[in-house]
């Protein structure tokens, strides 16, 4: 089979779905790992031996890619799957825009995999690159991509049905970091982040004061921490405003128990619906 | 276990409150002491006994083991054989009754402390962690400063002193401790003539008050007038006894003039 290596669990899964039995996917970054750092063991590199493709999620998520290029043998092609997927800018507080608050000029949200439409695009891209590497099985890859797209569509339908349980006015997703722009766009949420964009940003007190105001003003029902991140500040804001704390959402797709698009989306949608939908709907 | 409690006889004294004028004198005994540094044997079979009210000169060539002996007496290094008894009991490191002046301290000269603050440190063994710094303590510090002619310098930070002034400040700290036993490693170093004479005079006063004083130094001429006893060493003990008997040219010669240079290492 065609051997490919992957730097992101969701991309690995996509490659498996599209390629089926014709590809062998090596996970360089294993579920639970940190997508921001690349520190492969020689063993991983050895396991990669003979791979035709190295798949990355792209959109500058893997900041180390530039360096890696030189080290790859000549037979390996690096593919940034997300590169051709339309970007949306980072958004913190979508519906207002004061002078002192900043929109992120020229900065794009790299978390493209929160959208089924994007996943469908990615499936097509995947089929193209696999075919280019292994023209003999082109037809199989195209079929694989189609099948995957169909599954993604179904999943989207299911998610939309679930989201419909939430009152339209309650469709506001308050998260710690702005990683859910694509999700919000696809499922009609307004997104708001408490802590800013970077993981290590420390929120300013005025930003927190604003967030509290907004949570009150918009009657927001719940706010969501992130998987594996410290929920402390969110917890205090929740305590101040009396809103619920939802189940942690999965942002990077690397959670140990949910590292495919299906499991990740299902987890996030369930968590959001459970916290925002009226009690009767659940 | 405060120092004051163990000084059950302090009341008799008028000045330098901690000495001991009483019938049964306190003895310091060193029995068969030996000290080893890595491959160097620094001291071997040192034996002597002295008591408060006496002063003792510790004499020997460079590398004879004088500093090593004083450090052992101060409890800063442990011998590997023999023992040291003070008032009949083995010496513990933190004996409050012993004041020690190192030959070369490992001082942080930039430490934010004035001369006065340094001398006040000497009161620590008497004050412990808690007791209030009293008028009495201030008097003692004052006296120590005066006797070392440091009154005018008392508010200087310690790095802003000349070498001899620094030495005087450290001596004053040892004095302010009002200890039973004073162990002074080359106390005359760096002092000018008047200060040296002043210190000799002070030694007499201290022993008259009933303190025990042990000082190493290199000036053989001043041994006779200034000390009661002398211990001549050169790794081994050469002689110990009252200056008049022990400090004979023959003994001194056997400490210094040896064609065999072995001791110097």
């Amino acid at each position: 089979p065609l051997k490919v290596a992957s730097l992101h669990p969701i991309v690995s899964d996509l490659a498996r779905q599209v390629g089926g039995a014709n590809v062998e996917v090596i996970d360089i970054l294993k579920p639970g790992g940190d997508i921001h750092h690349f520190e492969p063991a020689p063993k991983d590199i050895a396991a990669m031996r003979g791979s035709k493709l190295l798949l990355a999620s792209g959109k500058e998520l893997e900041t180390y890619l530039d360096k890696l290029r030189d080290s790859l043998g000549s037979g390996v092609k690096l593919v940034e799957v997300g590169e051709k997927i339309p970007s949306i800018p980072f958004v913190c507080h979508e519906e207002h825009d004061h002078a002192e608050h900043d929109h992120h000029h020229g900065e794009f949200d790299p978390h493209w995999w929160h959208s089924a439409e994007n996943m469908k695009r990615a499936a097509r891209i995947m089929s193209d690159v696999l075919s280019a590497a292994d023209p003999a099985n082109e037809a199989a890859y195209e079929a694989g991509a189609k099948a995957a797209s169909k599954r993604f569509d179904e999943l989207k339908k299911w998610a939309q049905k679930e989201v419909a349980k939430i009152d339209r006015k309650d469709r506001k997703l308050v998260t710690a970091h702005a990683a859910f722009g694509y999700f919000c766009k696809e499922f009609g949420f307004e997104s708001m982040s408490v802590l800013g964009i970077g993981r290590n940003d420390d929120a300013s007190s005025s930003h927190i004061a604003e967030t509290i105001e907004e949570i009150r003003e918009h009657g927001i029902k719940a706010i969501f921490p992130e998987d594996q991140a410290n929920p402390k500040v969110l917890a205090e804001i929740a305590r101040s405003t009396g809103v619920k704390i939802g189940d942690p959402l999965i942002a990077d797709g690397t959670a140990k128990n949910a590292h495919t698009f299906e499991t990740m989306l299902a987890h996030n949608v369930r968590a959001i619906v459970a916290a925002l939908a009226p009690a009767s709907a659940n | 276990m405060s120092a004051a409690a163990s000084h059950d006889h302090t009341k008799e004294h008028v000045c330098w409150g901690g000495g001991c004028k009483h019938t049964q004198h306190h003895r310091l005994e060193v029995i068969d002491l030996g000290v080893q540094y890595q491959e160097v044997r620094a001291l071997e079979k040192i034996n002597f006994a002295t008591e408060c009210g006496r002063s003792m000169a510790l004499i020997g060539p460079n590398g004879a083991g004088k500093s090593t002996l004083l450090k052992s007496l101060a409890g800063l290094i442990a011998g590997d054989s023999g023992k040291i008894l003070w008032r009949g009991k083995p010496l513990t490191r933190s004996s409050h009754e012993i004041a020690y002046l190192p030959q070369r301290g490992d001082i942080d000269w930039n430490f934010p402390i004035t001369v006065r603050g340094l001398v006040e440190m000497g009161r620590y063994p008497n004050l412990g962690w808690w007791r209030q710094y009293s008028r009495h303590d201030a008097d003692i510090v004052e006296r120590a400063l005066t006797s070392m002619e440091l009154r005018d310098l008392q508010d200087r930070q310690i790095s802003a002193l000349s070498g001899g002034q620094q030495q005087r400040a450290f001596i004053a700290r040892a004095l302010a401790q009002e200890a039973h036993v004073l162990l002074l490693d080359e106390p005359f170093t760096g002092l000018d003539k008047p200060a040296q004479e002043n210190l000799s005079r002070l030694f007499k006063e201290l022993t008259a008050e009933g303190r025990l004083l042990i000082a190493s130094h290199h000036d053989l001429q001043t041994v006779k007038g200034n000390f009661d006893d002398v211990l001549l060493i050169r790794r081994h003990q050469i002689v110990f006894g009252p200056v008049a008997e022990a400090f004979t040219p023959a003994n001194v010669a056997s400490a210094y003039d040896n064609p065999d240079q072995a001791i110097r290492n």
């Binding site: 940190d34 300013s204 927190i208 305590r239 | 933190s94 301290g105």
Partner: protein, 284 residues
């Protein structure tokens, strides 16, 4: 929607708690900074605040990932690296800095390896680094308790401590319990460090634990004044920073350190005795 005024904001419990935290953490850190500066261990503290990962790794290995296991793991790691380096330097000819340099990097490497094995994200330390604005009640109580312990311990031990800091050998000959002091003060420092880590994060906590007494150091020759002066500067600076950060929209932790750094700069330039403009020995 206009920015709520600062008085509005102060009505929020979250703001009150933050202000209280600034006061307490500022004071305790400033107080302890005297010890850090006299001991010349600013960089040791910095190093320890970076060496928590192996402790976290072990904690996660044993108890899974939670805020409490992170806290315990961090304290554990700090003690290992701190006391370990004291031990290594006492029993070898290396100075403590070098011993610590080797120890913490090796421990860190082992920690990374454990985490790889566990397949846990490597950026665990963010579990420790809260923000002064997200202090829970329990955090406040912990901060209060630690501050109280630190101030009381260092005040009680002050006399022997200063002697010890000046010259350990002299201290030993004066009967100061040197080893006890060494370990006790070290433990207090670690506690304060961990509590300020929760408030301002890894690097900034070092600033909080150094700058106040460093400023005082330029103003006085009285070692005692370093402690109380440091505490007061620390508390004052933190409060000023809190009120500055709000209208500027800055993060409170960075602002605290920037304010304390400015205090330092002022003292560095204008100190009557040791400032840039005072006439000191014209050393070539």
């Amino acid at each position: 929607m206009p920015l709520p005024t600062i008085t509005d904001f102060l009505a929020e419990p979250i703001a009150k708690r933050a202000l209280l935290a600034c006061l307490m953490i500022g004071f305790a850190n400033g107080f302890v900074s005297a010890f850090v500066v006299l001991r010349k261990s600013a960089l040791k503290i910095g190093t320890i605040s970076h060496s928590l990962l192996p402790g976290l790794a072990v904690a996660v290995l044993i108890a899974g990932l939670s805020q409490w296991s992170a806290l315990v793991g961090a304290i554990f790691a700090a003690l290992i690296v701190g006391l370990g380096s004291i031990f290594l330097s006492r029993t070898s000819r290396l100075d403590q800095d070098t011993a610590m340099g080797v120890l913490y990097t090796t421990a860190f490497a082992v920690g990374l390896q454990i985490l790889r094995g566990l397949n846990v994200r490597q950026k665990l330390d963010e579990w420790l680094f809260g923000s002064i604005i997200g202090m829970a009640d329990s955090d406040l109580w912990i901060a209060f308790g630690i501050s109280a312990i630190a101030v009381i311990t260092l005040t009680a031990l002050q006399r022997p401590l200063i002697i010890y800091l000046f010259e350990p050998n002299i201290a030993a000959s004066l009967g100061v319990p040197v080893r006890l002091l060494n370990y006790a003060t070290f433990a207090v420092t670690i506690l304060v460090l961990v509590s300020s880590l929760q408030a301002v994060g890894c690097i900034l906590s070092v600033g909080l634990m150094v700058a106040p007494a460093a400023t005082m150091y330029l103003l006085t020759n009285n070692a005692r004044a370093l402690f109380w002066g440091g505490g007061i500067l620390g508390a004052l600076g933190s409060m000023i920073a809190f009120f500055l950060a709000y209208p500027l929209g800055w993060s409170p932790s960075s602002t605290i350190v920037i304010v304390l750094g400015s205090f330092f700069l002022l003292a560095y330039i204008f100190s009557p005795k040791y400032g840039l403009f005072s006439k000191r020995g014209s050393v070539a």
